[in-house]
Symmetry: C2
Subunit: 151 residues, 2 copies
DNA sequence: GGTGAAATCTACCTAGG
DNA sequence: CCTAGGTAGATTTCACC
């Protein structure tokens, strides 16, 4: 399984996916070859799924970030498949979850302005036959932003 | 500003942050040197903030993902600073937002089990003097997972 | 858009517990 | 036998043309 060095390695790579094996070795107290080998092992085991560039949304004109809760009227497998297709077809929905409790779906959404958010709600989500109610909350401030997973 | 090639480049790098300039050029229909140069420009302009390894939470024992809504009783700058410190001190809180509407804070949380989630709520959040009420929803299924930003 | 020097990765090899 | 460290050929980047 994972020892303490592996965990520190994962923490480091979450913060900097481009660190060289040399530097990684210095951080972990290993040689470059050992550090590289551990990284390869964790990649092969699927613990590291991939590497991603992190983009600043502001200069792209994505000013509005919101969470949208969707309540269904009709449940059942057809409606679920249908909603799933809808969610995957809209690029402004970047994440979607099903939850315990109140709402059936929670969507994380990025749009250039309020108008685009309202269009998503009123022209895309609400017209869907299975959707009963939609409730959106707009992000005012992101206090803590996509921190590394706790290891 | 950003042209269409830049946007495709950002989309590509969000999916694969380790792609070589050679491959990137093939995807974009550019030479390797031009592709690498565009990437450098977007990094220098701060559009690409950094690169991060993406970790699979399951094998790490992070089985529970939840969203926690925090309602404050006392508002004001002191309480806000205090809560902010609290949020940043807990590694199981990976993201935090202030929102319009109902709740004052929305927290995204990862824990190994329900016990740890309940400890966070009852031993960390609720005892805080400014916190009035806490409401948590546990993620059952992640339908769409951290898709690239819509460009 | 192309090129070459410098840096980096990684497969292979050797040493030690 | 398993884990750690070193080395050299192949690959990639990036400053310059």
């Amino acid at each position: 399984m994972l020892d303490d060095v592996d965990k520190r390695l994962l923490r480091t790579l979450q913060r900097n996916g481009q660190i060289t094996a040399q530097e990684l070795g210095e951080v972990l107290g290993l040689s470059a070859s050992q550090a590289g080998r551990r990284r390869q092992r964790l990649e092969a085991e699927g613990l590291i799924t991939h590497y991603a560039a992190q983009i600043d949304p502001e200069p792209l004109g994505l000013s509005i970030q919101a969470f949208v809760q969707v309540h269904l009227g009709t449940h059942g497998p057809e409606a679920a498949r249908d909603i799933s297709r809808l969610i995957h077809s809209r690029t402004e929905i970047t994440s979607a979850w099903t939850m315990t409790g109140e709402a059936d779906y929670l969507l994380r959404v990025w749009t250039p302005d309020l108008k685009a958010l309202h269009r998503l709600i009123h022209d895309v989500l609400l017209p869907h036959p299975a959707v009963a109610r939609v409730q959106s909350q707009i992000v005012m401030d992101q206090l803590k932003t996509d921190a590394p997973l706790p290891l």
